[in-house]
Symmetry: D2
Subunit: 420 residues, 4 copies
Amino acid sequence: MPNRLSAPDLPVLQKKYESVRQRSVSLAASLSEADATVQSMEDASPAKWHLAHTSWFFETFILAANVKNYQRFDPAYDYLFNSYYEAVGARHPRSFRGLLTRPPQDEILAYRQYVDDAMSTFFGSVRRLEICRLVELGLHHEEQHQELLLTDILHLFAQNPIRPAYRNPVPLEVNCGRVEEITWHAFDGGVRAVGHGEGSFCFDCETPRHDVLLSPFEVADRAVTNGEWLAFLEDGGYANASLWLADGWDILRQESWVAPLYWEYTDGVWQNMTLRGLQPIDLAAPVSQVSFFEAAAYASWVEARLPTEYEWEIAAGSLEAGGNFAESELLRPRPQNGSGLRGFYGDVWEWTQSPFTPYPGYKVSAGAVGEYNGKFMNGQMVLKGGSCVTPAGHIRSTYRNFFHPQKRWQFSGLRLARDC
Amino acid sequence: MPNRLSAPDLPVLQKKYESVRQRSVSLAASLSEADATVQSMEDASPAKWHLAHTSWFFETFILAANVKNYQRFDPAYDYLFNSYYEAVGARHPRSFRGLLTRPPQDEILAYRQYVDDAMSTFFGSVRRLEICRLVELGLHHEEQHQELLLTDILHLFAQNPIRPAYRNPVPLEVNCGRVEEITWHAFDGGVRAVGHGEGSFCFDCETPRHDVLLSPFEVADRAVTNGEWLAFLEDGGYANASLWLADGWDILRQESWVAPLYWEYTDGVWQNMTLRGLQPIDLAAPVSQVSFFEAAAYASWVEARLPTEYEWEIAAGSLEAGGNFAESELLRPRPQNGSGLRGFYGDVWEWTQSPFTPYPGYKVSAGAVGEYNGKFMNGQMVLKGGSCVTPAGHIRSTYRNFFHPQKRWQFSGLRLARDC
Amino acid sequence: MPNRLSAPDLPVLQKKYESVRQRSVSLAASLSEADATVQSMEDASPAKWHLAHTSWFFETFILAANVKNYQRFDPAYDYLFNSYYEAVGARHPRSFRGLLTRPPQDEILAYRQYVDDAMSTFFGSVRRLEICRLVELGLHHEEQHQELLLTDILHLFAQNPIRPAYRNPVPLEVNCGRVEEITWHAFDGGVRAVGHGEGSFCFDCETPRHDVLLSPFEVADRAVTNGEWLAFLEDGGYANASLWLADGWDILRQESWVAPLYWEYTDGVWQNMTLRGLQPIDLAAPVSQVSFFEAAAYASWVEARLPTEYEWEIAAGSLEAGGNFAESELLRPRPQNGSGLRGFYGDVWEWTQSPFTPYPGYKVSAGAVGEYNGKFMNGQMVLKGGSCVTPAGHIRSTYRNFFHPQKRWQFSGLRLARDC
Amino acid sequence: MPNRLSAPDLPVLQKKYESVRQRSVSLAASLSEADATVQSMEDASPAKWHLAHTSWFFETFILAANVKNYQRFDPAYDYLFNSYYEAVGARHPRSFRGLLTRPPQDEILAYRQYVDDAMSTFFGSVRRLEICRLVELGLHHEEQHQELLLTDILHLFAQNPIRPAYRNPVPLEVNCGRVEEITWHAFDGGVRAVGHGEGSFCFDCETPRHDVLLSPFEVADRAVTNGEWLAFLEDGGYANASLWLADGWDILRQESWVAPLYWEYTDGVWQNMTLRGLQPIDLAAPVSQVSFFEAAAYASWVEARLPTEYEWEIAAGSLEAGGNFAESELLRPRPQNGSGLRGFYGDVWEWTQSPFTPYPGYKVSAGAVGEYNGKFMNGQMVLKGGSCVTPAGHIRSTYRNFFHPQKRWQFSGLRLARDC
């Protein structure tokens, strides 16, 4: 964990604590007890589990570790709501999370309140900077689970033949495919600094800030749209092995991929399942719920490539980290109209061609918190920029998200790059 | 379907309809929305699904088939709540039943009310005997699902590390292992009539009544107890291949069987998970939740065997079909104290050594209802007598239940037999 | 094991020993070292393994058990070539049999010679009848493996895109579909004796001889032909769920069954893979390589059923056990021309509707040989009559073969029956 | 494919052709027909298949593409012996390669001769440089398969309980653990050129040569030894989750890893299976048959790391590419005695921490040959330096081998690096 920031203002931190914690509860408020309990696949977790696990994080790493004679809300929770921290002890197997019909949602909410009360008291006695850092980490961790809560609920609802909507299903205004053609923006090569420096929060994997040597490159001004994807699909993109990485082609055939994860072709019309129910596809909006393999095949089809994570960071570097985040309440990607480099933040996570590996000089932190990112630095690809279900303020240009290249249930899309 | 009974009294049938239908709702009343939704394994179904499917049966086979312009409650239900009737159309895959967080429980209860209202009206216009037969079938079908609802909830709760109780978890009075030694009752061989004749309801697989030729045999006066099973276990019964059928030994090793399904050994004590939570094992009560393979291995260990279904039927034939059924509210097997042939009905289903095959002259009924039993007449074993979660009145000596030999989640035990 | 036969003539037994043992070697003579080594699926075994295992049987149960200071050919063989005898010790896992490229075929043949030499000496000193019985069992055991060697080689060659032939691939004379329509032969019901009595060899599962009560029944005069099967297929037999047992329908969809195992449709013609290579289908010959599930679906399609094993035994009882066995060298079923009850023996094993269960009073023998049949008495169906790859003389009316209902790689077909 | 080399001398190329082709045949000469046919796992291929596939490469890409009216040896081979070239047409599934008992080895050797004869004629008429390039590629391709042939035979023999030896099993002289402690060699950071330039053969993935920016680093003078690995193992390295990447820990538990792939602990002694049979472990020799996950865990245990592929290339850059290659006939790693940077080439492939990704500016070649490397640039890790079964002359400092991080059947070990 970064230990070289200036001290945050404690009241500010406490206020942020309250607002982040409250937001999690709000996100789950419209879910039924059943919605909040069921696990639709091993990659996804129940909403109730997200609510409990984020509280477990504060209880375990802040309260139990620092408050004398702290009494856990329920000792069983230590087993039930650990996600993957080997150092902390045994845990409930991931694939069985959806069988926990008890404790009920009410009790989980009481657990949250219990932890929040204890944290409130605890804030009065915080003396050490490193604890503020850990609280901050816990809040960013909770924001990550807020996004997962939404992608996991969408996955659950997409398995249901009646296609329930998470929010009011009235369709968004649809742009009918009008978005400008892609234009390319060139960047010089040379030695450039990337990664996160001192002065504000970041995850350990964003450090250390270091120099990289880039060749000149070009980046598209906006993300690839549904309309462009449809052209790929109609040109046989999902049937042409020469466009695909070998592992991608294998999984395509095994799982019979013919379109992005939530696209459905019914009565001659493509629709896609969204958090607002089944909706017509917005041809002008960025394509979403595609895997790295699909993104790479598309790039190959247009004789371009995906950017490296460094190219993306350099290209996005001067832009403000604003955009269509969860707070817009659209809960789906929006057409990136306009001109100039745009849409780097929000809408969809953008796959890069960079495997998620440690930066030069990266060291895993000691203790359980050291399991946060380092142990996942194999077999996953870096994504950048956040999505329409990411909390605003959670993202920065150095932020590195990562998923396995075959995963499709996130709001993941792509932006093209090419050599100069 | 039986078509040779005398006409039931229509008001009696309607009254039975109301009581059976009401009982299903009562059984689920103490479940949370989440308890009623989750599916803990492919063999089990959610309580909500049981409630809906039994209503679908009446809607599909009675109302939609006989009521002019009958308006289905929701056309999607026809797909969602069909269990296995191929002739009726496509259906939601069994293993995804637990993903249906919607429709919510309230809506399922409204569905039940809608069907009950329509049935109430329909009863006024019933003219044909065969429809009464079909209603009667629907009620017996629903009683079967009432039992499954309880066994499936127990399975779900048994997967939960906090071991929730379906009913008040106060332990039952435990008998401390005092039950008399087994005594054997001899029966002559010869030609005997088995199966169900005319005059009252039965399932098609119980017919036709026919003669079989039996050799002289003996049957134990009561079921095998937990105490006796413990002796088997402690004698290495689960580690001695020579006692087991080959397929049983394979699955024992694959799934690491060391005791009946819900037994747990903690801190030197054997307990078992019940509908009343985790409880000490009652050594005097019949062993339960064992597979056919385990039952056969036990019988081999004591140099006896399981009875055939015919032997069981002849031995039980003169006894009244009473015992510890669901209505006792014990919801677990009770020691079979006393003397004489006893415990044939209630407590635990008793595995026989008879594969579930058609009786001579058996014909599958025409139409979808013909899928009721006939298509399962392969690879399963007959069980007799009902259990502590079977509705009283549901069982008769000719009743043939059937499960695959490796299944363990039912209240299934055994009674010994041997050649004279 | 039967222990109530009259003493066989020892020289006769020794002569039979020599001829059976020699025949195994002959069957494998045309195979390459590779053909004899590879295992094409878990159910099948390599030819080399069959040759070694049958020798292991004599070495283990006769020589090592009875010859003082008997020196095993190679102690490792005890582990490598045990099939499933738990009582004898650990064994090489079945699914890895095909990885044993060493010991080479030459060494296996030397092993056979070594055992044969030891047996030759041993025959001079045999005093006890029970040992003759065990030798006889070993020979019948080896004949069973001779049949499996052929069915397993056919399976291996059928996986090879170049479709090698085991024997000269010149096609047999094809009958062009001319065989008489089925006629039915009626049998009275009543108490009939079935199973094997005293006086000659049989497997333990054929005993004890006992009475059964039969209803009147009819049996078809011949087996179902390829031509009749083609009509079933063309009528959508493989697409009509109502004809199938539930487990059969599941596996049909899972494995995409559309025809018998070795049928291929190429350029508008149905051919099938045989021990003589890929050949046009002989419409008049009995259908082969069908599972029990397919056989039962066919019977359902023609509104008939499969016979029980008892009906088959009674119907075949008065006929001589002759027919198209392996010695005819046809190595495929032959049209059952002519009239009258025929074709019960040879051509194809005929599926019955009887699960393989113990006869009343059956007891498993003590010791390792007791594992011969008893532990398989679950989940399998009885087949009768032998096939075109069964050694002549191996079969009798009481012979009970058994396979799981989904297995298709044997020469298995069917004959119809129906109630009177 | 590289198109910027100077013209090779045609007679030199032809001579190399003859020697490489001959060497493949020699490697397989001591194998039985069965050894050469069986496939021990999906990753491995039969020796016979390696011999045929390498010939298929010349037949398909050189002869059929360039020789007018070229008559293929057997059209079926085009289907049977294509490895993964989607553009060339359908192919025999990889996992079924071991079922091809036919064509026999003799016929495969005749196929080789046929192709060699045609190539011999063809050499007389070669005019175009690009064809020479393709022949050269075919030879390097064949050398890769020569290595695989050996690693695959070792895997096959390691599955056999009698542990056959590929070569004379007399143990090598064992060094008894005397090798000097590791010393570290420091390298400056800065911009350095890596990758292959013009002037000699290389694979496409080694290009283009390009600049990278390195931080200062240190590299160990030699590879990690078996003795050092034993200390890791005895310190609980395989039981300490904190040392492992998450995916590595998962597979360790799933496959019960407790030591390198071919280590066996019997009667208190560690041995390992080698091409010369089961041998005592040489504590001074480099550890081999470890996965990337194991290598990374070891590095973590000693608080070091694996080098990047660039660090390795820079560190090895000035050394001659000599060492213990296949031609030494040792066929196992040899202790890297001495001092100074050593052992970069031969003995064991050294895992790097670099995922196998395209170099900046890399373009996939057009046509089927373009499938050579590019489509595998996901999910695999780069290994450097060659092993004791790699042909001498096949390796250079820019050579990039790649395997999935969980693979263990190659001669793969590691060398440590660390930040300055």
